[in-house]
């Protein structure tokens, strides 16, 4: 506002916005960084017609054959009703099977089809490549430390005391 027209820049605070207060928050940093990572992941998975949620579900089913929808929902930290539509989609695309559990006819045993496993392989390889590029500016030691820190935040050692 008080910038005289000495500088060729037309507007003062136009492009330089002060977010120093927000930068004090780790949540702010995480949100901004995660936005970038998520955008990259979404773009990476798009050629495979997968979103983060469908990819995550597919991977967990391939790696944990036979698990139930409830278990999967718990693992993915989403509500059961929301998982149903994910399974509907993966099943419709013949990437997974919903087999009835003989010992508990309420539950489904989720397994990946051959097509599902193939898609898993391709998508996982693509994700690895893209993530490698995303982290190319961070050395291995730091990368490990970041992963560990993120995990420690996730675990949440903030006792109630």
């Amino acid at each position: 506002m008080k910038r005289p027209e000495l500088s060729p820049v037309p507007d003062p605070a136009a492009d330089q916005i002060n977010d120093a207060t927000l930068r004090l928050s780790v949540g702010y940093h995480m949100k901004r960084a995660f936005n970038v990572v998520q955008a990259d992941l979404v773009a990476t998975l798009k050629p495979f017609d997968l979103r983060m949620l469908t990819y995550t579900a597919l991977v967990l089913i391939v790696d944990n054959p036979g698990l139930s929808q409830s278990q999967l929902a718990a693992a993915m930290d989403i509500e059961r009703p929301n998982l149903v539509v994910l399974m509907d989609e993966l099943e419709r695309r013949a990437l997974i099977n919903r087999d009835r559990v003989p010992t508990d006819r309420r539950a489904y045993a989720l397994t990946a089809t051959l097509a599902g496993r193939r898609l898993y392989e391709k998508a996982t390889a693509a994700v690895a490549v893209h993530e490698k590029r995303l982290l190319s500016g961070i050395d291995e030691a730091t990368r490990t430390a970041v992963i560990a820190a993120l995990h420690s935040i996730e675990i949440g050692q903030t006792g109630e005391g």
Copy 2:
């Protein structure tokens, strides 16, 4: 109740789900960690009737008085139409003012009211306290490294080559 090994557990992956493949992805770690942080932030801001978006907007307006909605939307990395409803809410609650810019009658100059600045102070203090607890298990050096790494990911030095 711990299950003794008298019986071969019918379902092996019952409570222990293997997410090793996903753990190779930083995005997965970030999402899970961010979920925790976000939940904490949401809970922290709830007493002030603020969400992450409204809090972020309020802070940026207080710290950058006079900025326009377009500038704010750019700073927050959200679309202008979505910012409108945020400003509607903050204005309705008399936390900010939308003053017409004399030199450009299309734009609004956003400023915080006294109530807005007071809420900013209280909310920011609360956020700081909660984040401190959230990061209590991480030493200062690691914390700095994590922030730096997150920022470097955000900036995205991944060239197009």
